[in-house]
Symmetry: C2
Subunit: 396 residues, 2 copies
């Protein structure tokens, strides 16, 4: 390990760069915060079924890729332990369900490869003596509620569980120690909102908005550049950690190429948050400058952008990359807006509360719900866009 890599092992004293170096900034840039902890009304553990339903649309594809393209025989020939990592696992339960599916698919693949190579072997003997052990690393930010995660681990799990605290934008694991990486609903969280968004002298000054939705191109470009930089780092560190032949599955928010973000429901939601906060500023509940200085560190890339970044990195073969409609599971039912807002709140409240104060959260999310309800026809008319990306990569 070179000295340059070493610094990635540890957090710096300022891991999120919250005390960055830009002169024109009124407030620190916003870095990601963990999902809401615990098991309460607005907890992620109680409000993440939408993420599960959307991710479940990709489950069959992931299993297919494992069955067709993961060489378990090769992976287990170098080590008697197969290590999986879920990056951005939050507090459960979604992480436990998908890890279980992946693990079972890997076991099936292992058995099928085993029976191909020695068809007459006694099945029970093979299972007992040749099935590798599995170790699963659940990763999220240091401030994630790991206590809730650990106390809700499945009692009948057939793997060794470990929690790994830290940002997945840095090194988390030893070199060549991981065989399978899964990350869902996480990679659209960039490491920090771009500093230039707070620079009053820049065309990228993001005044009166909390996101790049409906913003000038310069704002969108600043977000896109940060995403590209983060993904570059992410792929570099994962390439170091994954064994050759190891697989990485990424599910994240996306957008059809060239489509303005305001044309999909998530963008409409961010616009409602921006205007709710501006209304509150006008009423004196918060300061307008607080809105100007807050930028949600969230970017949805197009499939083409992702493809370009992965190919530029060069360490991974793209086994599958496609976009799909994350709301397909709703079928013909309309979006339940109050429930949707609760799900969003469980995911983003930490960031807003840290900046605007937790005392205004009920007010803010209440207004957002009302505004979204007012445009529910519009939301429902655009909910079938392909705004979810799936990428299955193999370390080469």
């Amino acid at each position: 390990m070179a000295e340059g890599d070493r610094t990635m092992l540890s957090g710096s004293a300022d891991p999120m760069n919250l005390n960055g170096d830009h002169e024109n900034r009124a407030k620190p840039v916003t870095g990601p915060q963990p999902m809401n902890g615990g098991n309460g009304t607005y907890s992620y553990s109680k409000n993440s079924s939408y993420q599960k339903e959307s991710a479940d649309l990709e489950k069959g594809k992931i299993i297919e890729e494992i069955e067709e393209k993961l060489d378990m025989k090769k992976l287990s020939s170098f080590s008697n332990t197969i290590c999986l990592a879920d990056l951005g696992c939050s507090t459960g339960p979604n992480t436990f369900m998908i890890i279980q599916e992946i693990l079972e698919a890997m076991q099936r693949k292992h058995r099928s490869q085993l029976s191909q190579s020695c068809p007459k072997a006694d099945q029970q003997y093979s299972d007992d003596h040749q099935m590798p052990e599995f170790q699963v690393f659940f990763n999220d930010l240091e401030a994630n509620d790991f206590n809730t995660l650990f106390t809700s681990l499945p009692q009948d799990r057939k793997y060794f569980a470990a929690g790994v605290p830290g940002s997945f934008h840095r090194r988390l694991f030893p070199e060549s120690s991981i065989h399978f990486v899964h990350t869902s609903s996480s990679l659209h969280w960039i490491s920090k909102s771009p500093e230039v968004l707070q620079n009053k002298d820049s065309p990228a000054w993001n005044k009166g908005r909390i996101h790049y939705t409906s913003a000038p191109d310069e704002v969108v470009d600043a977000y896109a550049a940060q995403f590209a930089e983060d993904m570059k780092n992410f792929l570099n560190v994962r390439a170091t950690e994954l064994v050759l032949g190891g697989m990485m599955v990424m599910i994240l928010s996306g957008i059809p190429k060239g489509m303005p973000y305001s044309e999909i429901p998530a963008g409409m939601l961010y616009n409602c948050i921006s205007s709710s906060l501006m209304d509150m500023a006008k009423e004196g509940i918060i300061e307008e400058s607080e809105v100007d200085s807050f930028n949600l560190p969230y970017y949805a890339a197009s499939l083409e952008e992702m493809e370009e970044i992965v190919e530029k990195n060069g360490c991974f073969k793209i086994e599958r990359m496609e976009s799909s409609n994350p709301a397909a599971w709703l079928q013909n039912r309309p979006v339940d807006i109050p429930t949707l807002v609760k799900h969003v709140r469980a995911a983003v409240e930490g960031m807003f509360a840290r900046h605007f104060g937790s005392e205004v959260m009920d007010e803010m999310f209440g207004r957002v719900t009302d505004k979204l309800l007012d445009i529910s026809d519009l939301v429902n008319s655009r909910r079938d866009e392909k705004s979810q990306l799936l990428a299955v990569l193999k370390r080469k």
Copy 2:
């Protein structure tokens, strides 16, 4: 991995056997609970300096054993990652300090072995290219406050950190995956208090006491048998997890062979807890039957007992085993009894609160402090007994 081992991977639905099967039992037997979490007045993180001072008395010996007997060259020839585990790590900070010392000793040993085998190698080159990476697994019970542990991890650490929830009486890690185990102030916690202690028809019925201190031999024997059973399991599972040549350091409470536990300060303390609770029962604050049904799952073995258990297991070479005075760091100063009780409270409050109710904890620990202060001369006269065990084992 045989099927029998598989069950050790996962907790059962009743991992502590809290709902065991003994008919005569009024209340569930007491299993260990984690140390007090958080950073408050009675937290372990704020009240564990005594444990650190006592463990520090062994630090030099541990480093000596690493320097003299750990073959880093051999360990790192099979893997580019060296894995350490601290079992019963609690919330910090003690775990971070000792892990750092051990890790630095291992790095020094690695460098010295490297320079012996290729004395002319450029030192910087050797460091960068041949020093293995380190991964540290911090283990404690599922209910331990891992959130406090993770948010206080050293920012400048030179290792990959992971938390592993679960009882160390069961499997925690894949086969042959760990190179060094450290456990301090933990192994005297047995997996559960013996069920027979609650059997009114047995000579081991432990009426009116919360521990075997000043109890009939049958009570002491029941505790000793549980400890022997637990240590047998502990050594078996660790033998599976440790690589050949790997080292295990255990620091735990002990007692000179044949000495009644009432003759050392810890025993005096347990007697004060028993009598405080009995006083409270007489005053109607708690029920006397509650005292009868509570038994602290804590056993201090003699060096000879430990030696016999390790030798019977047969998987480990005893590199060093000795007893010493854990209060030696006090030098000539008397024991500060209120501070001592706060340290004990941080460690055991969870178990007492779960059984007697958290509302009587202030009352109980207040009375215990008063009773101990009344016998402070006696406590101080017996504080220099060799009641701490150190065992350094090597997997053979």
